[in-house]
């Protein structure tokens, strides 16, 4: 009965879309009530007419990426109008998706039955073992951005992808050394619980809840927009339908299954992800008898790769003696500014440690030893997977070619599914289609797992910190608390869907970067000081959390990450000047050149008077990532706040927290209070 509102919403949101597009697929068999709700969403999503799918893939190609245009003599550049989309077998892909939905749906139904208390809902009653939690952390952390994104960056920009992969992995050193055990020993469900051990002030809890919501919404938005675009690419489903589908599915999962369902979905997803990673890597390297030197030699000797690198370097004619293939194995094709790289490194090193949905995972294990074990296991899995992903990326560059990959998706996100099809036997073969469908389904389960974890974390901040402890003084009974938690999860899901739809055209890459930077400059300094600095107090917590976050967001708003219309106009002007000069000299322009001239003229006239979101003509801050500046500011804000609003009484609370986080002493009190 409880899922009636979700179904109602489902019919309200999906209904018009179904009537708008004639159904191409029959209803899918349903294994369980929840799965049937989920399946309905999916089959509703799948009804996109073939023409719509073709239009979407055509629009993909119509956006000529700088790379594809800059690399002459490649298939993608030669025929930009040809449908260069991936050839997927829709029946196989859809059945894989339905299989994933059925399995996860069954887990949710089972978990829903045994979720009775708030501890069950937020932390699975602390009954997850270290081994299980290790897999779940890997499932929570390896988002679609890691799997598809890093494989994509590697396939398009070579060694930079490998360099990039080190950052997210290093973040686990901070998690292991600073966060995991103290959080398990001192906390309950949220960051607010830990901070409230230092100060009983309601302002502290409220600020902590607000900061968790803001950060998670940034992260969630990145995932939702990514999910929408991914589903569009994988299944040809329209963007809005994908976002609604994924969102509704997540609401159902989290509202009923809570942490137990989320954990198992994450474990299964991590297992599937590892399985596909290992399979692709082994099949790839098998072709070279597992000789890495021969593999990379083949990558660097590949003519399309060399052509592509020449395009990236903007060498119009090949320079004699320049080894373009070798350049692919060297850093600096996309990560150009060293300071920006260091800044990104700081955001990774400190940011992941304060992400609310990652932190929450440590409350699901019974003790510090299990928390430690779970981080170790997740680190083994994540590290191995990161290395495999870069091999997969290089393999995709070699066998598929960067031009083909960027023709399907500018960011290279389809590199992993495409190489899966290749190692499975190639396009059109049963093995190829099956394996590609499998990898797509794994990418889909990845979205499910990460988004569930995020929604759960936000609902904990809203319901547990804000509603129960700020508004109601911690008085509500279990039944009311869990009800509020479910309502919060539902509301967060709806907001995520609306924001996801609103942000379709936005560049979402900066949202995830922003989430990391904001966490590194607000949550992390405050958490670190709360755990280790005796004098730290409510004043420091509030100023640190708010100033750190506001400053980080502010710096991003004036950084090159934002869109600057005047710069677009200037680039368009250059294209217009070059082509008009060519025209004036009497040379007839090719059809492609005429098209880009038209496009440049449109770009120029629509952007020449525009300003960025905050009204700037050019960025004020030179780096894309604010962490190098905003992290010190966050620390200073927290320290000055403490000194300005000193409180002897709160200093005394430090001993309690310090003993608890180090020894786990009194952990039962913490759980009962």
């Amino acid at each position: 009965m409880r899922w009636t509102p979700a179904l109602l919403l489902l019919s309200l949101t999906v209904g018009p879309l179904i009537s708008a597009a004639p159904a191409a697929e029959g209803p899918q068999p349903a294994a369980s009530p929840v799965a049937s709700a989920a399946t309905a969403t999916q089959s509703a999503g799948a009804v996109a007419t073939p023409s719509a799918a073709a239009a979407s893939s055509a629009s993909k190609v119509a956006i000529p990426s700088a790379i594809a245009v800059a690399a002459p003599g490649t298939p993608a550049a030669k025929s930009p109008a040809a449908p260069a989309g991936m050839k997927t077998n829709r029946t196989i892909t859809l059945s894989m998706f339905v299989a994933i939905l059925c399995v996860t749906g069954m887990i949710v139904v089972r978990a829903a039955r045994s979720t009775k208390t708030t501890a069950d809902y937020y932390t699975a009653g602390g009954g997850i073992s270290g081994l299980q939690n290790g897999w779940a952390i890997a499932g929570d952390y390896l988002s679609a951005a890691t799997f598809l994104g890093i494989a994509g960056i590697t396939s398009v920009f070579g060694a930079d992808g490998f360099m990039y992969a080190v950052g997210p992995f290093f973040s686990f050193v901070t998690i292991l050394l600073v966060i995991a055990e103290p959080c398990r020993n001192a906390g309950k469900y949220t960051l607010g619980d830990i901070l409230s051990l230092r100060s009983s002030s309601k302002v502290v809890r409220g600020t902590a809840a607000l900061s968790a919501v803001v950060v998670s919404i940034f992260y969630l938005l990145g995932q939702m927009v990514g999910a929408g675009k991914l589903m569009q690419l994988l299944l040809g489903i329209p963007y809005n339908v994908s976002v609604i589908g994924v969102g509704v599915l997540m609401i159902v999962y989290v509202t009923f299954g809570g942490m137990k369902a989320t954990t198992w979905v994450q474990i299964i997803k991590a297992f599937l992800l590892m399985l596909s990673g290992i399979t692709i890597t082994v099949l790839l390297l098998w072709k070279f008898n597992f000789n890495l030197v021969a593999f990379y030699d083949a990558v660097a000797s590949s003519a399309p790769v060399q052509d592509h690198v020449r395009g990236l370097l903007k060498h119009v004619t090949p320079q004699g003696g320049y080894d373009y293939g070798q350049r692919f194995l060297e850093p600096g094709l996309i990560l150009k500014d060293p300071l920006d790289q260091i800044s990104l490194g700081i955001a990774f090193a400190l940011g992941a440690a304060g992400l609310p949905h990652i932190m929450m995972r440590f409350f699901t294990v019974p003790n510090a030893q299990a928390a430690r074990k779970s981080v170790l296991i997740s680190m083994i899995l994540i590290g191995a997977f990161m290395i495999m992903v870069t091999v997969i990326g290089f393999g995709a560059a070699l066998f598929i070619s960067p031009q083909q990959i960027t023709a399907v998706d500018k960011g290279g996100n389809m590199a992993a599914p495409m190489i899966a099809q290749f190692v499975g036997g190639g396009a059109g073969t049963l093995g190829g289609d099956l394996f590609m469908a499998f990898v797509c389904a794994v990418a889909f389960s990845t979205i499910i797992a990460v988004v569930s974890g995020l929604i759960l974390a936000v609902s904990a901040a809203v319901a547990h910190d804000f509603y129960v402890n700020v508004l109601k003084d911690g008085k509500p009974d279990q039944r009311e608390q869990i009800k509020v938690a479910r309502i919060a999860a539902f509301a967060v899901g709806i907001i995520a869907i609306m924001l996801g739809i609103a942000c379709e055209k936005q560049n979402i890459a900066h949202l995830v970067v922003l989430a990391f930077a904001v966490v590194a400059s607000s949550n992390f300094p405050v958490l670190l000081l709360a755990l280790f600095w005796k004098r730290f107090n409510a004043g420091g917590i509030v100023t640190g959390l708010s100033l750190g976050a506001v400053f980080a967001i502010g710096v991003v708003l004036v950084s090159p990450t934002m869109t600057y219309p005047k710069k677009i106009a200037a680039d368009a002007r250059k294209v217009i000047d070059v082509l008009e000069k060519k025209q004036a000299s009497g040379t007839a322009l090719a059809e492609k050149e005429l098209k880009s001239l038209d496009k440049a003229r449109v770009d120029y006239s629509s952007n020449k008077d525009g300003t960025s979101l905050v009204g700037l003509d050019a960025p004020l801050f030179p780096l894309k990532n604010p962490a190098i500046l905003s992290v010190p500011v966050g620390f200073l804000a927290a320290i000055f706040g403490t000194l300005l609003f000193g409180s002897r009484r709160e200093e005394d609370l430090f001993d309690e927290l310090y003993i608890r986080q180090n020894t786990g002493y009194g952990i039962a009190d913490a759980r009962d209070h």
Binding site: V166, L176, L329, Q369, E656, I659, N662, T663, G666
Partner: protein, 125 residues
């Protein structure tokens, strides 16, 4: 509540706890700083010593490639070393601290929930 707070302050003055506190702090700080230095060396080298990163080591594989692999190995190394040290050194020390707490608590006749609820497996593992 007031009585309990006083308790914590007193517990924090215990010699065993102070020993645990200082040893753990220096261990964690050293390990984290070491890891961070090695981690930031990668982008620093890539940005400011590109020629070094380009040097071929094995076939077409260059310093950059092995540097990245080394980072992974180093991070795993830190994880294993930390786990090993915690299991074999800090956990027994924590157990001693907890025993000290219980003894202190017994003389003051205040209740202690933590240790009684810890099973031997949890304390040792």
């Amino acid at each position: 509540m007031a009585e309990k707070k006083k308790d914590w302050a007193e517990l924090a003055k215990g010699p065993k706890f102070i020993e645990l506190h200082s040893k753990k702090k220096s261990f964690l700080l050293t390990l984290w700083c070491l890891g961070s230095v090695m981690f930031f060396l990668l982008p620093i080298c890539a940005g400011y010593a590109p020629e070094f990163m380009r040097t071929k080591v094995l076939g077409r594989l260059n310093v950059c490639y092995f540097f990245c692999l080394f980072e992974f190995a180093m991070i795993w190394g830190i994880a294993f070393y930390y786990t090993h040290k915690s299991n074999t050194y800090f956990d027994p020390l924590i157990k001693e601290v907890l025993i000290e707490f219980t003894e202190g608590a017994q003389t003051k006749a205040t209740g202690n929930v933590a240790l009684s609820k810890l099973t031997p497996r949890e304390v040792q593992s």
